[in-house]
Point group: D2
Chain length 138, copies 4
């Protein structure tokens, strides 16, 4: 019989598997734990901006997916209320990008996460900081 954490992770995985926007943009869940998650995206033609490098919004989308995974991992629905992203390095087609989310704080109603996006050489592409509101029945 699964324990509480296990149930939370299963609920989160089910939620993420129904994420149409992530699917449409080639974003995949790599791993998920209590308050942590990793997601990946290989930069393809559809992720490029007008100057032919990876679009900032594609990088955001990847980071946001890891953020959603980590923040929903406890089995309580977590809704993003704020996100801040700094873009520090460009990436080109063919690069595999990874977003890794870590929980910084959590209380009954709010939680915050730091997400780093790195390329396949381990170099930082963007840093993302997000806050969620945790929905409860009471």
């Amino acid at each position: 019989m699964p324990d509480e954490t296990q149930t939370g992770l299963e609920t989160a995985k089910a939620l993420l598997s129904k994420d149409a926007f992530a699917k449409h943009n080639g974003i995949e869940l790599v791993e998920i734990g209590a308050g942590t998650a990793k997601a990946a995206m290989t930069v393809g033609a559809k992720h490029l901006n007008g100057v032919g490098i990876v679009h900032g919004a594609a990088i955001f989308s990847l980071a946001d997916f890891a953020f959603a995974a980590a923040s929903n991992s406890h089995g309580v629905v977590a809704v993003a209320i704020n996100a801040n992203i700094s873009f520090v390095k460009a990436a080109t087609e063919g690069t595999q990008l990874t977003a890794e989310a870590k929980e910084q704080s959590i209380n009954r109603k709010l939680a915050t996460y730091a997400i780093d996006v790195t390329d396949d050489g381990g170099e930082l592409i963007a840093t993302f900081q997000g806050m969620v509101y945790r929905k409860r029945n009471s």
Copy 2:
């Protein structure tokens, strides 16, 4: 013969028309002026998250496109370095979202923009604040 502003707008429009990520996600330029821009996106099945409402990253992508348009409207390549978004209201499939960007400040190297995302009833969905680094040869 087009003046400098006209040339800047034409350069920006050419850049935006080659934006593969925006095209892939159904984001369209509505209008562009010196330091301003409007973009639109009708929420479709591909924009939804796991709970069936519009994905935060889709909203970000729309706002980011208006941001890119406004910041590149002067004919100098502008690269996003930071963006902050607050999500204030959900939106469902079929809703037409509009992002409107306004220039708040601009100097030789940096410029900032405020972008509001509203639904077809004029209600605020998200507010976005972005900063660009302006690339110059000198």
Copy 3:
């Protein structure tokens, strides 16, 4: 007999008048309405940084005070959970800075505000975006 809004404003004013940090840093409330506020600070020697211009944290403090005033104007205790600031222009000693806060969105639990900091010539010094959590008994 004061109506509900009036009571909210009085509660907020009482709260702001006890703000020791604002007092210590020469920050004053200029006006407050439902969801709006204006605060002022004249840049003195104590507000300078190591290079002799106004400190970014002094600008933040001024903006934050207008943010607190506007968000507490409804008579419900509002606690800042996130703030984002972009610094766009320097200011020197003797300059009078004004921060003006506007409510962007409000619901039962969360509200967002945009605060512009300008100098006495009306030029933008910084833009600030903040989110509060509204504390309720229920």
Copy 4:
């Protein structure tokens, strides 16, 4: 004879020692290295807000000081252009707060820093993310 790093740290320390706003608010440099810094502030009566807990702007000021120290540690003048802070826990009078800054990215013109503010029990009070523009003669 000091090497380049040593010179950078000495320049930064000289700059920070002239920071009037930090001095006025009881903020002290604890340590500084290449791209890193630690600062401290003991919450006193002057740091409190209207409800008697530590003011968000006082927490910001502490984090900002560590940010300034770390970003100026390389001997190139670094000017804050953006900062984002999430407040996660309250703190009361008498608490010693520490801000620790880490460099996340750096290039010729821009650099980003993550600053954590913790209390004397090691609990997270706020997370701060900042970006600087690095001023060069060329």
